[in-house]
């Protein structure tokens, strides 16, 4: 099995491209900031205009970091799910994970009056948002998994995932019917998805969740490789299927759940990026795929965010729309070119 060392140069190039796009992302927007000013702010010298420093440090930098974490994390969770569910169509969105997260957040925001005093400090509310969202996605994944233990047909599992998704959507509709306008607005804005308006505190929480999910994923990479042969073969090589499955699901729900909590449901990144990476990397080793998927996911999200800011204009498009606009044609192109979608 080829090791990640073989691809060290690849990863370095990808990383450099990522940094370049990161800088471009920082400088573009309704106000463009020259590159040398960005460096000057980073070194601590401040910018020639105080507003630039403010825009950079309090808006664009946390947004860019959030974009990279969200893109990389969603792509990794997509990779894990495609291997776990033995299905190239699996992804956080398709399997109802994002709807689960939405349900968690909806219950929290829309049902807040019922629980009372749930929103204490800003920190508490952000943590609770994350926990609600991660819990929601974890529950949906568990439900999907409970079904997988009974049904071996992967198509059936996908359909069941979609059904769970529509059930949660329905529950959200019922909840929103009974909630007041203010709460509803808060929820709807969350569901549009937005990378911006992140406090540093929020970014910090996201980083912690991201690292936790990433560590669990790296820890599972050997088991994931075994799962490529199928459950029975994996078992015959000494793998504890239940323990492994639990860890993988925990990792995906922490990643997808926390990201969805902060930036809202984001489609396609989790599904498209692993396939994109598989086209260029001949390896199936998850230790090779994971860094590649992570970097490409972060890159794709940054590019999408740069597009969403609509350079040289004052408008910002919802990020969810842009990822779908970029992601869907990409998947179609892959399918048409390769005529098959392996995992």
């Amino acid at each position: 099995m080829q090791t990640s060392q073989t691809y060290r140069f690849h990863f370095l190039v990808l990383f450099l491209v990522l940094i370049a796009v990161f800088l471009v992302n920082l400088s573009m927007g309704s106000v463009s900031i020259p590159l040398d000013e960005i460096f000057s702010v980073f070194i601590g010298n401040g910018a020639s205009k105080e507003t630039w420093r403010y825009i950079l440090m309090d808006y664009r930098l946390p947004k860019a970091i959030t974009a990279m974490l969200a893109g990389g994390g969603l792509a990794i969770s997509g990779l894990l799910m495609q291997t776990l569910f033995r299905n190239p169509l699996a992804g956080p969105f398709v399997l109802g994970l994002s709807s689960g997260a939405s349900l968690g957040v909806a219950i929290l925001i829309l049902g807040a009056s019922a629980f009372g005093g749930f929103f204490g400090t800003l920190l508490l509310s952000q943590w609770s948002l994350v926990i609600a969202s991660a819990l929601g996605s974890f529950l949906v994944l568990l439900a999907v998994l409970a079904v997988t233990f009974r049904i071996k047909d992967t198509m059936a599992i996908l359909i069941i995932g979609l059904m769970f998704g529509s059930v949660t959507t329905a529950v959200v509709s019922v909840l929103s019917y009974f909630s007041n306008a203010e709460q509803l607005q808060q929820y709807i804005f969350w569901s549009f998805g937005s990378l911006g308006n992140q406090s540093w505190q929020g970014v910090f929480i996201l980083v912690i969740c991201f690292l936790a999910g990433l560590l669990l994923s790296i820890f599972s990479s050997k088991s994931l490789n075994a799962l490529l042969l199928g459950e029975n073969y994996a078992k015959s090589m000494g793998l504890h299927i239940k323990k492994t499955t639990f860890i993988i699901i925990l990792a995906t729900s922490i990643l997808a759940g926390s990201i969805t909590a902060f930036v809202g449901p984001i489609a396609f990144v989790g599904l498209a990026v692993p396939h994109l990476v598989r086209q260029f990397y001949k390896s199936s080793n998850h230790l090779v795929l994971m860094p590649a998927v992570l970097l490409c996911g972060a890159l794709l999200m940054l590019v999408c965010d740069t597009l969403a800011q609509l350079p040289f204009s004052e408008f910002t498009l919802p990020i969810n729309a842009i990822t779908s606009l970029v992601g869907a044609p990409m998947v179609i192109w892959l399918l048409v070119r390769k005529r098959k979608l392996f995992f």
Binding site: L229, Y233, F343
Partner: protein, 264 residues
């Protein structure tokens, strides 16, 4: 007697296999008794649906037995942890790997999993074992091919190479000759024979190639309705154990040639 006992690797005592159902146990086969010695090539034959796969699943620990015991190296199969078992017993299943994108070398390397560290990096020794597994199955030339590019015959050789890389004293194969042409069926069985005699591995496989198995195996396990027989192929023929395997009006066993002929 004692020295013979030491040579026994896999033993089944009054084994009953089947499934636990809500309405009661569904018994597929009962009182299965046999003891396989080290280095033997054993063929498991029987009609479709008689329970060959169920028996193999029970012997490999993938399914619990309803009654009776299986001993591997004189230790009850149930006392093995899944990790310990992985170093004693490897399998070749009828199912293809779920990921069609795996390359041959990757698939064979996965056989080293019980021996590698937590990220699965391969040591020099691992690489040597993988190389010799590829050589033994003549699959070196395929090393960088993807699984979806392989023919059925090639795929089967690669699956055997993976089991060899796992480096276990016992290998159990479920119908390794299905979907293959007559040449590849003979090729795979000869390969198994060679592995058993050269590497002293014990190999148990199920097959529908009864005539080929009679010619090649050391022992055979015949599953008939209600009873299983374990012996040398010649003794099994003498005792007429193959005669009752299939309905006589369609197909008949000729003890002299060791072949089945169609009744016209």
């Amino acid at each position: 007697m004692d020295s013979k006992k030491k040579n026994i690797i896999l033993e089944s005592r009054n084994l009953t296999v089947g499934y636990v159902k809500k309405t009661g146990n569904l018994i597929i086969a009962d009182t299965v008794n046999f003891s396989i010695e080290k280095g033997e090539l054993v063929g498991l034959v029987g009609a479709n649906g008689i329970g060959k796969s169920t028996l193999l699943r029970t012997l490999t620990g993938m399914q619990n037995s309803l009654n009776g015991e299986v001993f591997l190296n004189e230790k009850n199969l149930k006392e093995y942890s899944s990790f310990q078992l992985a170093t004693q017993l490897s399998v070749v299943l009828t199912e293809a790997p779920t990921s069609k994108n795996l390359s041959v070398i990757e698939m064979v390397s996965l056989g080293r999993q019980p021996y590698t560290n937590w990220v699965g990096s391969l040591s020099e020794e691992d690489k040597k074992t993988i190389q010799s597994a590829l050589e033994a199955t003549e699959t070196e030339a395929l090393a960088n091919r993807k699984c979806f590019e392989l023919s059925d015959g090639q795929m089967q050789r690669v699956a055997i190479a993976r089991a060899l890389a796992q480096d276990t004293p016992l290998i159990i194969l479920d119908e390794p000759t299905t979907h293959l042409d007559i040449y590849h069926r003979a090729y795979i069985l000869k390969l198994l024979k060679k592995l058993a005699s050269e590497t002293k591995k014990t190999i148990l496989f199920s097959t529908h190639e009864i005539d080929l198995a009679i010619q090649l195996t050391d022992k055979m396990l015949v599953m008939a309705k209600g009873e299983t027989y374990f012996d040398d192929p010649c003794k099994l023929i003498e005792a007429g154990r193959f005669d009752s395997l299939f309905p006589k009006e369609t197909i008949d066993f000729d003890g002299k040639t060791g072949r089945f002929t169609i009744r016209k």
